[in-house]
Structure formats: C-alpha cells, structure tokens
Symmetry: D3
Subunit: 245 residues, 6 copies
C-alpha cells in the first residue's frame, strides 16, 4: 500500500490495523559511469514497494535528496546540509505522528545519510525528553543492504568488486526496476580505488569517476531481481517486528 496512491479514508482504515509506516530515504548523487544518479533513492523505494505489496504495510513518499555533500563535484548531484535535513525530517516525522502513526521505519539507501538521520531521531526524541514527557513514537533506520541475508546474495553475484559506492549490487537493483536505463560503460580501472574522503573536491580527487572500490560493469537486472527478492523478504520480517515492538 503506497501513501501516494491511497486516499485518506484508506489511510484512516489502515491506521485501525497498524500505526506503522515505512519511509524510503535516499540521495540524489552520482553513482559512477554507469550508475543512476537516483540509485540510493530508487533502491529503497523499489524494495519497500515490493515488500509493501507482499505484506500490506504502508509506504510513504521517498525522501529523495539526502546528505551527499561529498559528491557535489559531479554533475547532477544534490545535497541537503545536515542541519536542513534534520529540520525537514522533523517536519516529516511530526506530520506522520500528528495524523496517527507511531512507528516510522526509514529504509535507507545511502551510507551518507546514516548519521544525520540518527541525529534527526535524537532531535525528535529530545523535544519529549526536555519537556519530561514520554514519547509514544519509535523511529528506526536500516540500510537495505544490511537486511539479513541480502549481502550474501550480493556477494554471491559479485564476489569481486562489490566495493562501497556505485556497487554492482545497487546498480543491479535499479537496472532490474528500470531496464530502460541500463548503461554499458567500460570501467578504468576495472575496480575503483578505495579510501576515505572529506569534502567534494577531496572525493573527486580520490575517486575520479565516482566509484569507490567497485566494478559496477558487472551489474545486471537478473542479479537485481535476486537482490530485491532477498531484501523484500527480509524487510517484510523486519518491519513486522518493528511495528509490533
């Protein structure tokens, strides 16, 4: 069930059975020579969408521009400052709580979001803690690639060159869902360098084509289908447990 495709009476009915919602959260940022700029938003959107179809839980709109300051040297990348992202998430969460939700599960597609998203949760809880009021809401985040069993499937398909950014796994997930966007690009070097980074200039200097440690030329819609299948199954279980917590 997708919030954007539902009417309010349908949501009202849903809330009588569950007060939980899943929010895909990603980023709009370069993903190397053949990866989609929307990869990190699309992956959790795809996985959450299939899981919702399977299990009947509600999926909200995708938080589609995240914290990606380090990618800004590549055309088409976008970022929120962490302070802006915290403010926007406060409004998203507060709105959802206002109309009846008390379990909000963020399915995350971007490593760069993790800390700011957690900070936003603390910002939300802090309002209650500082007022001395018990907060009836629970927030959680999980990266789709860390759902139980998912990384096993990824490694099976891509034992070499999975890397950390613009991975063949995440590119596969998007190729599975958007085959019209498949791009064939030769990678030089085959496996990108790895390492740490600070700001956008530093990132680009270390990772000239945008990849980190990966060989996404291996990506395929078939692998994507398997990964999504594994992630969807795991997500259904994880969400059920969280909503019941």
């Amino acid at each position: 069930m997708k919030l954007h495709l539902s009417s309010w009476p349908e949501v009202e009915a849903y809330l009588k059975t569950s007060r939980g919602i899943v929010i895909p959260i990603g980023s709009t940022e370069q993903h190397g020579p053949n990866g989609l700029i929307g990869t990190d938003a699309l992956c959790p959107e795809i996985i959450a969408g299939e899981a919702a179809d399977a299990a009947g839980f509600l999926v909200g709109p995708t938080f589609n521009v995240g914290m990606a300051q380090h990618h800004l040297d590549f055309p088409g990348s976008m970022t929120l400052r962490p302070s802006t992202m915290i403010a926007a998430l406060q409004d998203w969460i507060t709105s959802l709580v206002r109309t009846g939700f008390d379990r909000i599960y963020f399915l995350n597609g971007h490593g760069g979001n993790i800390t700011t998203l957690n900070a936003a949760f603390c910002e939300f809880y802090a309002e209650y803690s500082l007022r001395g009021e018990a907060c009836p809401v629970r927030l959680t985040q999980n990266n789709w690639w860390q759902l139980p069993g998912v990384m096993d499937v990824c490694k099976k398909h891509f034992p070499v060159g999975e890397g950390g950014h613009a991975t063949p796994s995440e590119v596969s997930v998007t190729y599975y869902a958007y085959p019209e966007a498949i791009k064939s690009v030769e990678m030089h070097p085959k496996i990108a360098p790895s390492g740490r980074f600070a700001d956008a200039a530093d990132f680009r200097a270390s990772f000239p084509d945008g990849r980190c440690g990966s060989d996404p030329a291996q990506a395929s819609p078939e692998a994507g289908a398997r990964i999504v299948e594994a992630a969807r199954t795991a997500l259904v279980r994880d969400v059920a447990a969280f909503f019941a917590s």
Copy 2:
C-alpha cells in the same frame, strides 16, 4: 531525460547543450474521498516526465512534501513548515547551481506551495543582492493547470464541479497514470462547499471530506490523458522559452 535515471557523464553531456532543469514540486496531502494523497506531487511528475520525453530536457527529483499544514486533520497528510521548505529549497537550488545549472523551472502541483516557493526564490536571490553580486541564475515556477490551454481542456471535460481542491482534473491525471489506484466513491454532497480556511481544524470543519468546491467522482483516466497531453505540449514550449531566457 530524468536525472534519477541518468549517470553523471550523461548529465555532463546534457549540460553542454542546456543548463536548464525542471523540478516537479507537489505535496503529500489528502485529496478527498477518491483522490490520491500523492496527487499534487504526481501530477507535475507525470506531466514533466512526458514533456521531458518529448523534448529532451532534464527533469530532477520531485519535491514531494510541500506546505500543506491545513490538511493535517486528515490521515496521511504531511507538511513542511514554510521556514523548513525555504531551507530545503535553498539546498536543492544551491546544489543544482553548484554542478552547472542556471535555469531552474519548478512545475508546481499545489496551490499551497506558491507563496513559500516564491519566498524561497527571494531567499536565494537575496544572498546575491545583499553581497552586491549579479546572480547568473534564474528561477521560475508555474502551476501545471495554468499552463496555456490546460484549463480549457479541464473545463471541457468538467464544466461543473471542477472546484479548487481534489478537482476532477487532477484526480484524472493521476488515474491516467496510475489506473490501478482508481477509486470509486460516491460524493455527498455531489459538489463540495467552497470558501477560505486557516489552520487544519478550520479546514476540516469547513470541508469535512477534504474536497473544496469539486466533484471528483467525475474523474476518468481518459480525461486525464487529454489533460496531460495539453499540459505536456504547453510545458515543452514554456520550458524552452524559459531556458532560452
């Protein structure tokens, strides 16, 4: 061409031919008994997507939660505070400018966004104006239903009961694109009341089922197809003129 389905080298190539981008901007809010909560985000996304396919311009991610405080008494509605929305738009715009864009066209799907979006433009320009630096960027917004010729098509299909919120026209656009989400609901009264509103409690008191002046039971995917066709054509022209300005 969609930013989320493009790679950064594709965007780099695009920027050599055009420095313009279209951002669909909408809202996540109740749209009456049979309208989709995502209506205001989906409509500009659908229209911009088709126009982009036809004309080759670039469409960015949809700004999908807008200023909808007055809808918060209906389940599933979400809002940004105006101050948060201005901050988020600053980051979106600044990011796009940073990687090479200088014409940003917001195709808007929600009346409640208009003033805050304009305020955000002024916030962006003010940074240049206060520094005494000429701003090379131009920002514009247009409501899809006010593109030349669109309202004529809407009125032809719905001479009665178009109204102002949860209109048969906007519901038709979403039914055209998402036929699986069509909902059949009887409306009482047939045409909803009209009027002004302030906060969410006030809105709900005046518009108990969420519609304003409309009869969206008339909505059909066929009408939606015609409206999208008219809007797409007009948008292609409008965007071309803006990018060339």
Copy 3:
C-alpha cells in the same frame, strides 16, 4: 486609535469591545527619481491611520522594512531575508495573540511582501495544525491599492503611466501626507519600461532609475487625497467584516 499613542489600560478597554488590530506593513526601498524610500510603509500607515480615526479600530506599529532584495542596488534600500521576515512576523503575531488579539489584519503596501507574508501566516497556523489544536486566531492581508474602488480612483487620475512600481498613485498618497517631501524630477523616458526581474543587479539593469512601467511625475497631493479617501472608506468596511468573521 493608535497602539503607539495608547496606554495599556486603554488597550485593555478596547479589547473588551474588539479583539482585532490592523498592522500596516511596507518596505524601505527606492521608489524612482521622485518617490520616497518609505512609500510602501507610509501608504498603508496613512490609510490605516485615517481609517482608524474614522472607525475607531486599533492600528499597531508599522512593519517598515520588508522583502525588497531586488531594490538593493539603489542607495537607501533595505530588506529582510524571507526567513528573517517570517521569524519576525511570528514574534509580532504571537505577541499580539498573547495579550488578547485574535483578528490581525495586515494592510500591505508592497507587492514584494505578499508571498512571504502569506508564508508567515502558514508558519503560524502550522504550529497549531502540527499540534492538533484548533487555532482561534485569524490572519489576513490586503494590498491597499486592491481595496474595492481604489484602483478606479487611481486610473481616473492616472489613465496612463500608473505602472507597477513607483506609481503616481502611491507617490501621490505620500505627497498628500508629506507635502514637504514633494520632489520635482523630469522622467526619462516619460514612462518607465516594464518586465520581470530576479535579483538586485537584474532589477537595476532592467529599470535603471528604479521605476517599473510608471510615470510618477504626474503625482500630486490632490490625487493622493482622493486615493486615500477611497482607500480609507473601503478599509473601514473591509476591516469591520474581517473583525466580525
């Protein structure tokens, strides 16, 4: 009755008869070769002041620096960023509500304020909407030149060259109230160019002497008197209706 010339016991007595107040809101910005920099603040202050004398309602202090970023290339112009203006208006409104007012009517003198002022209203309402509390306060804004009948008088006096900024009508209103500030300046061209603008550099490039579409050399205190008379009469009616709403 003017708040600034009243004592608190007088306001306490007034609040027993009415909980409404009128706030003139304007701008401090260039108004062409012969227009006053305070024009947009002075006009609503003059009109509200006369209407208050006639009808006995309360007028608060003038919000005298508004959103005028596009005028900053002309000496003496001042602006608030939209985000600052929203914050300041929150404090003004919250203060007035705190001491007993629940109908606040902003009489606006500057087109550039409209969207930010509306965004500020939404910011105020959003606090209630997000808390799920009914807001007992109503806010409204009206431009003095759009009060019923006013533009007719303006057009009668200035059938040609009214334009959009530094209009003969607004300059006349200030000349009527401040005859000591009348300035005689020849305009070249007689009627200023019209068009759109973005930031301050863009505005100055398009409108070199600060006027937009107008010939304010026609301004006269006599015309100002007529315009104020029409506006005052219309305002008294409009305010009464709003306070009674």
Copy 4:
C-alpha cells in the same frame, strides 16, 4: 533628512558627503497608566528627527518592536525574541552596508534592547572576524537619556519619581510631540515600587500597573520640550563624532 522621505538620488548625493546613518530603536510595550505604548520607539524617533533637521544627517526607519518579553502581561505589549531581533538587525545592518553606509548609530529608547543590540553587533562583526577580513563598518548604540546633559534636565524637572520605567521624562517627551495623546491618570501609589524582574508574570506581580520606581503623573509637554532640546543638541555632537571616527 529622513530616509523614508528621501528619494534614492537624494540618498546617493548624501552618501557623497557622509556614510553615516542614525537608526532610532525602541519597543512597543506598556508604559504604565498614562504612558504611551510606543514611548520607547517614539522618544528616539523624535529626538533623532529634530537632530537630523538641525544637523543634516540621515535618519532611517525606526526599529519599533524590540526585546520586551517582560511586559507581555500587559495588553498591547509586543516583543521579539532576542534571536529574532539579532536576525532582523543583521538584515537591517547588512542592507545599509550594502548600499554604502559604514557608520550606523542606533539611538536607543529601551533599556531592554541594550544587551541584544550589542549581541547583534557582535554577530555582525563575527562574520568578518571568522572570515579573517577587516570590517570597514562601525556600529554604536546610545540611550537617548544617557546623552551628555540629558539626565541633568530630567532631574531638574523631576527630582523625585524619575524611576526606571514609565518615567516622567520619557512620557514628557512623547507628550511634547503628541499632545493629543496626553492622558491624565492618578497614580497609586504615587511612586511605583522598584526592583528586579524575570519573565512577564514576575514583572506584573512586582509592578502591578506597569511602572517601575516612577511617578509619571508629573509628565508635561513643557518638560518634554526641554528634554528633547537637550538630547537633540547632545545627539548632534555625538553623531558627528561617531561619523568622523
């Protein structure tokens, strides 16, 4: 010369002779049983206006709502939060600097503004200091009643009951300029209590009719004329010294 009554070419000409401006800054707050709510804004406005007429310097718009949280238990009082006031002053100062001013003299009428106004100055300077850039601008504030010689005149007229808030001196200044607003009220007790305060409830508990240590029933337009005369003379000298610094 008043900014609000000047045209931009007049300000341009003025800037060739001086880059200084005076900003009256006050408050909108109760001033006891017979004092005007606008007292703290009107006093510096009146004094700066007369001094400007005498000496030819430029006076900007009055910053008319200040930091007056402790008065909010009295009808008609208004406040900015300190953080809002700092933000607004940043925009005022930055605007003035942008169009050519580099000496900004705040003539203050409200003790409650002093610390926040100073914090705002530091906020402005800090931008330069953190960037490592020399700031060409100088900001200063002075309370009109502390200009050399003014308190002598006040004490001569009101040897007893001057007090600290709603003083006969400040009330006299407004009565001199606005004789139509003179109010005759008996005070009980004749001299109000003195002491410290925290929030609005605390203030009202300690100072039930709003006065602190004063007997403003003594106020007269004649005394006001003398005080303004002394203040105007002192201000002319003080401003000249500051502009020349």
Copy 5:
C-alpha cells in the same frame, strides 16, 4: 560539590536540599603575552570550585568557549557567534531545569559574554512570557571581579596597570591555580593602550600584543591566592542569597 564528580543519586539527594547550581562561564581567547588562553574560563572555574568546597553548593561544567569574536586575530582564540551561544545556553538551562534546578547562577569570567548571556536569559524567559505561563526559574550572572570586595584586593596588589583585558589580577588567579603555567614575558610598552574595538582586525590593530590597558607582568600566584580568597568568600554569600531568593 562538582556535578562532574558526582553521581546522579548524589545530585538527587542535593536537590532535596537546594535547587540551585552555579555554572562557571568563560572564554577561550588570547590574554596577552603571558596570560593563559583559558584565563576567562579558568578564573570562574577556580573561584566557583573553591566556594563550592567551602559552602557545599553544586557547580556544573564550565561553559568554556564564549563570545570572543574580537580576539580571532590571535592564534588559539575561539568564539561562538552570539546566536549560537544563545542556542547552546537554552539547551544548558532547559536541561538543568528539566532535572530539577530552578536557580542558575552564572559566574562569568569574560566581559564579552555579558550581553549575549543576558540575551540568552531573555530568550529563555520569553518562551514563558509568550505562552503566558509563569516561569518558576530564576537566572543570574555575575562577573567574578565585581563580587563585593574583590576589586579592592585587585587594586591593592596592582594599583597601576590593572587595565581591562589580560589584567594582572586575572592572570594571577590562573597562576595561583596552575603554577606550572607561569610565563615570564617582558611587556612593551609596560602598560598596554586602552580604547574601544569592533572586529578582530580592529582589535589587533589597536592592541598589538593582545593586552588592553594592563601590565600583567606583575601577576603572581600570591596575589592570585588573595584574589581567589576574596572572591570565594563573596561568592558564597552571593550564591546563598540568590538560591534563597
């Protein structure tokens, strides 16, 4: 009793006897050729620590980076912007109030903090005043050198060259507590210049070695011991009076 060396059950027990706490507040900024960068934080920390040992009241953590924008041209100086300092102090105060304190005494070591600290108090009170709720909390600040009797001791030891920044008295206090940090530096000129300042560049231009009006070469741990003794005694009395207020 020091908060940082206490357990929460000890604080719980303390709160049954007193709801007051002392917060040392200082700055991290240059203090001339022989003064410690931590001087303004260390002095109130030392004095409050000794007084707490003597009298048994509770001392919280030191707010150790303050408003010192004017010192940023000297290595090792740090500042908070006033707006940041207000926000941080809100959180400190709100936290303390949340867990049971209602009298918070800031012992200040830095003149540059005074106005921003007062603005922060007003920001805190304003929340209550705008809500129309009586605030049960009282906040106060005092500079350690202005505690009764302290300046007499300072003047006795340093009749000449006390000055205003990097004074022999404050340097002595730190030398007393940290004899390992005593530095022997010849001063040229013996007594530093005095005067006003704006931003960091202006400060350094006027005070090339960082001192203002002082000769801190006179500093000694022996003088420091006397000063601390006087300050400690006075503080015990002042805190007791405030906690009992």
Copy 6:
C-alpha cells in the same frame, strides 16, 4: 601542551611545527549509581591530556555537554539538541581553522555524540562543497575505547560486566584521575540489563539505575591507570598519523 594553559605566542610557535589540535568531546550525563556525571567528558580529557604531555601536541578545551537527551530523566544530566550541537561545533571548528589549524581530532567519550559529531563534520565540509572550493581542513573523531589495544586492556580487567554505559572501564578511568570521587555502591542487579532505547522516559524505564549491561562496582583506580596508559599510547600514534595525513 594545553590550549587553556598556553599563551597566544606559544600557540603561534606551535603552529609553525604543527597545524593539528585534539579536542576532547564528551557529555554531562548520569553514569549509574557510582559513575561520575562528567565521565564521558573526563575520560577523553584525561587521556588526551596525558598523551599531549607525552607527545607534545596541543589539546583544546573539552566540549563538555553533548547529545544526551536519553539521560534526562536522571538528575544532573544535560543535553544539546543535535541541531544546537552542530551549530556550536561549526563555530568551534571555524574558529580553530581561522587561527591556523587544519587538522582537528575529536577524541570522543560518548557514544551518543558519534552521529551528531559526524553530521557536524558534514555540515562544515558542505560549505566548501556547495561553494565549489577545496577544503584544506581535515576533521576526524575517534572513541577513546576503540583506540587500538584499549579494549583488550578493558576486557582483561573486566571480562564480565563491561556493558555499554557506565562501564567499569570508564568509571575506572575517572577514579584513577579523581580518586577523591570514588564511590562505593552495591549494584542490583549485579549486571544491568541491556537493550535499545528512544527518549528519556524510555531509557529510564529500561535502565532504572542508569547502567546498561555493566557492573561498574568493579571499577578501580588501578584498572583506570592501565586503561589510560594503553589509550594514551595508542592516541599518540593515532594523532601523529592524522596530523601527518
């Protein structure tokens, strides 16, 4: 070398040999029945201080109140909201960069700080990335207990009951440095429960005496000495590597 005990000429000299600084960052929060409220600030302060003495690098002031909203149900706990903490850290970092530092190493003592501290780093880098300027500064954070070899020592001393909050290891570190603050308390149960938490009420409900999974009754100054020794040695190496990066 400690910034607070240095003079600015000493820092100037230091900057000729190194542009790096270490900032201890902790929290002020309950640490169970026998742990110090300052534990998380004191531990990194102690370790960094000893390492600085050994290796000669510079240690700045301790950021002593962190993100601890979940502890606010225990007396004496304090928190910054994440958004405030980001703002404060921006000013700390910007100040240090302003006066010459380009490697800032945060030695962290509190798990709750990690995400917000990382978000603050991103906020800092984002300013450069959005401007399109290469950032010359590098920021890093490390938890003292995760320095190479430290946990081995902890586990050797406390094979059982180390837990996650109010651990015997951290309590030992503070007991080593502040033997006067050693507290003897019996723990019930011996080992505290483990688990997750959200806001302060939730934390207290799950962890009634404030400990998580630990038995800090085992803490001893002797163990603390060993742990500090291990941490100091590791830190010297880690800092050297970072400063040389």
